[in-house]
């Protein structure tokens, strides 16, 4: 559309650049501020010459190989498991109403913060947790909690469990959203029917016909999940071994050490972390190519059935198991939060009390207010920037370039542990001591991509003829934006805002670092309490962490309905 010059249009045209700057500058700045110390340039300690002593130190750290291995193996195995189970569920329930039920059951898991999920799973598998109570004493014969290391086992099995359960709903919902695209979903389902009519059993039909077309849409989400898992901090911190921990957790500890010279080693570690993540992504990509080449001839060999019935049964079992684990973990947490005395191996607490809730809620007043304030500010900024950028897209009549769409996801793809420390240093250098603003800006890096992802499709799908009609009636671009597009997009905007809030609420590392320890949110409190003394207090914090985003989504669902009925 040809547009006139106006203040609104100038604002709209410049917003994509502002958005890119807000995403690129902190990440690039943060990376530079990590690369320099990694190669020895650290003026605060008088190091102004480049060398590789940081890497040498890192190399001589006891257990460094194991740390790296733990990071690589837990992230790779959990991503692979999540992917395989996602595909099995899709293949088994592709034509069944169960797919919808599973989606509805798993959807809420998506917005549970990693820290809260880790705490819940920890409660389930800890020696006196729900799992061991469930099998004791009738099956196991245990009268006292068993002597196992879960959830801090040295092999990282607990981390794998936590990551898998957290990644699976994400991948499944991404796949289902691809199938929900009108054209593509319809074609894939029709092609599946064609394969059935050609005598393929449903499972084989899915693998040979649907998966090859579906996978390209899942590649980016999978790589994002893999990158995130390889450098995540919350889950390994709560569910992982302590000595040695995963590389990301070790880096965080070195950065936080009072001994500033450890910063050089930590920076070198951050570089190694990026390399490991890239290596993992490359490895996944190569494995994908290899499997594609090897399976090419199987696709057309005419074989219709590969033990589909057995696979289907295995999938039923896995699905039920998974839903049970999630259900038990949540139930256990609720029980702990109300538990008075709870003898082992009783399945239920002997007494129920509300005193943990009362005292914890009193304690968390300040963190709660900070959590909400930061969330509202970061989400508000993100929604405004996203809307203006999408509006600019329609003014200039072209979607954001490929480069820009990669940049939007940059903060999600680059391990945050690698650039956040640098970012903190940059913020210190430009003398930004407003911790609150720093935290909001750091959150924005992670909130913005999700808000954009969530809003873009609805905004782009809006029938352009509404704008044409309005323009032909003499409405300006600003008027069309405010009075046509925004009201029509009310529901998706609220959903995007709820998602943004959920992402902000769940941030651990950005809050911890940008806040310099002076700003506490529910999430940072929950993580620091997770390995502490009181399981009951910890349960309350984790539950509040889950309730906050749920509340956000409830409001996002109810408010547009209320506003719209009001109008009628």
């Amino acid at each position: 559309m040809i547009t006139a010059k106006s203040g609104f249009n100038t604002l709209v045209r410049s917003s994509p650049y502002l958005m890119m700057a807000l995403l690129v500058l902190p990440v690039i700045g943060g990376l530079i501020a990590v690369v320099l110390p990694a190669f020895g340039w650290f003026p605060v300690l008088g190091h102004t010459q480049f060398n590789i002593s940081g890497f040498v130190d890192l190399w001589h750290t006891p257990g460094i190989g194991y740390m790296a291995l733990l990071s690589v193996s837990t992230s790779f195995i959990s991503t692979l498991l999540a992917f395989v189970i996602t595909i099995l569920i899709l293949a088994s329930y592709f034509t069944s109403p169960w797919l919808g039920y599973i989606q509805r059951l798993l959807g809420p898991i998506l917005v549970i913060p990693h820290a809260a999920a880790a705490i819940a799973i920890g409660f389930l598998i800890t020696p006196s947790g729900m799992f061991s109570r469930l099998v004791s004493p009738w099956l196991s014969g245990w009268d006292t909690p068993p002597d196992w290391l879960f959830p801090h086992d040295a092999m990282g099995l607990s981390i794998i469990l936590g990551l898998t359960l957290k990644e699976l709903p994400f991948l499944l919902l991404m796949a289902l959203s691809v199938l929900a695209q009108p054209d593509l979903g319809h074609t894939l389902r029709a092609q599946h029917r064609v394969a059935l009519s050609l005598g393929y059993c449903p499972m084989t039909a899915f693998f040979k016909v649907v998966l090859p077309s579906l996978y390209p849409f899942l590649r980016l989400p999978i790589l994002a999940v893999l990158a995130y898992a390889s450098a995540s901090v919350e889950i390994p911190l709560i569910l992982g071994p302590n000595s040695p921990p995963t590389l990301a957790v070790a880096i965080m500890q070195w950065f936080h050490d009072v001994d500033l010279s450890l910063r050089i080693k930590a920076s070198a570690g951050a570089i190694v972390q990026i390399a490991l993540t890239l290596l993992l992504l490359l490895g996944w990509w190569l494995a994908e190519k290899l499997i594609k080449t090897l399976s090419q001839s199987m696709l057309v060999n005419g074989k219709r059935e590969y033990a589909g019935a057995i696979m289907q049964n295995i999938t039923h079992v896995i699905t039920m198991l998974m839903l049970t684990v999630i259900g038990l973990a949540l139930l256990g947490m609720v029980l702990w939060s109300f538990a008075g005395f709870w003898a082992y191996p009783d399945l239920l607490p002997n007494t129920f009390v509300t005193q943990h809730w009362q005292s914890a809620l009193q304690q968390m007043r300040t963190p709660l207010v900070d959590t909400l304030l930061i969330g509202v500010c970061a989400t508000g900024l993100a929604v405004v920037l996203t809307l203006l950028t999408l509006e600019a897209e329609q003014h200039t009549n072209k979607t954001v370039s490929r480069l820009s769409s990669v940049i939007i996801y940059l903060p999600l793809l680059i391990p945050s542990i690698a650039f956040l420390f640098g970012l903190v240093w940059v913020l210190e250098q430009i003398n930004s001591h407003h911790t609150f603003i720093n935290v909001v800006l750091a959150h924005l890096l992670f909130v913005l991509p999700y808000v954009f992802l969530s809003l873009a499709s609805s905004f782009r799908r809006l029938d352009p003829r509404f704008s044409y009609v309005a323009a032909s009636l003499g409405a300006s671009q600003a008027k069309i934006f405010w009075q046509i597009k925004l009201p029509m997009l009310l529901a998706p905007i609220f959903i995007a805002a709820a998602l943004g809030l959920a992402i902000s609420f769940s941030q651990y590392l950005p809050t911890l670092l940008a806040g310099g320890g002076r700003i506490n949110t529910i999430t940072t409190e929950a993580v620091s309490l997770a390995n502490g003394a009181s399981r009951r207090t910890s349960a309350v914090y984790a539950l509040v962490q889950m309730l906050l985003p749920a509340l956000g989504f409830l409001l996002a669902w109810a408010l547009p309905k209320m506003l719209l009925t009001h109008r009628e």
Partner: protein, 221 residues
């Protein structure tokens, strides 16, 4: 193609699709009731406006009745009751208005996908022969998207025929082709159905399709 002719020849005497006392309902509302026998080589044409239950009938025949619909009655294929047989065990081929070729496979791959498992060289020879019979010789390794609409329709037809179906259902099969192409493709499809002595049901809006089928016509209004 040889193996194919042998199997259809062996069953040609009994080749039939029987729909017995069918009533199709959407929720409680009756959509259609039908009692028909189609012998091999015949094409039953069903005409009617959208929403009259034409496509639902095909969905029922393939065992893919969507939620919200219910059906009573039986269907026999070559004398065998298949009312409750799983979709993929029925061996009823489908031809839609969209060719729905699999984009991740080549032309030969699409056909090969449909053929019964067997010796690779023999399968490839069969594919090449079939392609040249419909004027598509040498296009084995092309991607389906690079073909014209008429070529895609012919590949889709070969894909169904070489899967050795026992019956064929056509769902508005030619409605996306322009009139010249439509006539040619239609002639080819009908010829093949008759030559293979397959019972067929065609659902269409178009009177010229119905006339060309030269079979019984049922109008749903």
């Amino acid at each position: 193609m040889q193996t194919h002719e042998q199997t259809t020849a062996a069953s040609s005497n009994t080749s039939s699709l029987v729909i017995e006392q069918l009533t199709l309902k959407r929720q409680q509302q009756l959509l259609l009731s039908l009692n028909e026998t189609i012998v091999g080589g015949d094409i039953l044409t069903i005409m009617g406006p959208s929403g009259s239950g034409k496509s639902t009938l095909l969905n029922w025949l393939t065992g893919m009745l969507p939620k919200g619909f219910s059906a009573k009655g039986n269907v026999y294929l070559n004398g065998q009751l298949i009312t409750d047989t799983a979709s993929h065990m029925r061996r009823i081929g489908l031809i839609y208005q969209d060719p729905l070729l699999f984009p991740h496979l080549t032309v030969a791959g699409n056909i090969s996908f449909a053929m019964p498992a067997g010796v690779k060289a023999q399968r490839q020879a069969d594919i090449s022969q079939a392609l040249s019979q419909v004027g598509l010789a040498g296009l084995e390794h092309r991607s389906p998207q690079s073909l014209s609409g008429g070529q895609q329709a012919r590949v889709a037809l070969l894909r169904v025929l070489l899967s050795q179906p026992k019956a064929i259902l056509l769902d508005e099969p030619f409605s996306k082709l322009d009139s010249q192409l439509r006539q040619e493709t239609r002639q080819l499809v009908f010829e093949q159905i008759r030559q293979h002595k397959l019972p067929a049901i065609m659902v269409t809006h178009d009177q010229s399709d119905a006339d060309a089928a030269q079979g019984k016509i049922i109008s749903l209004f």
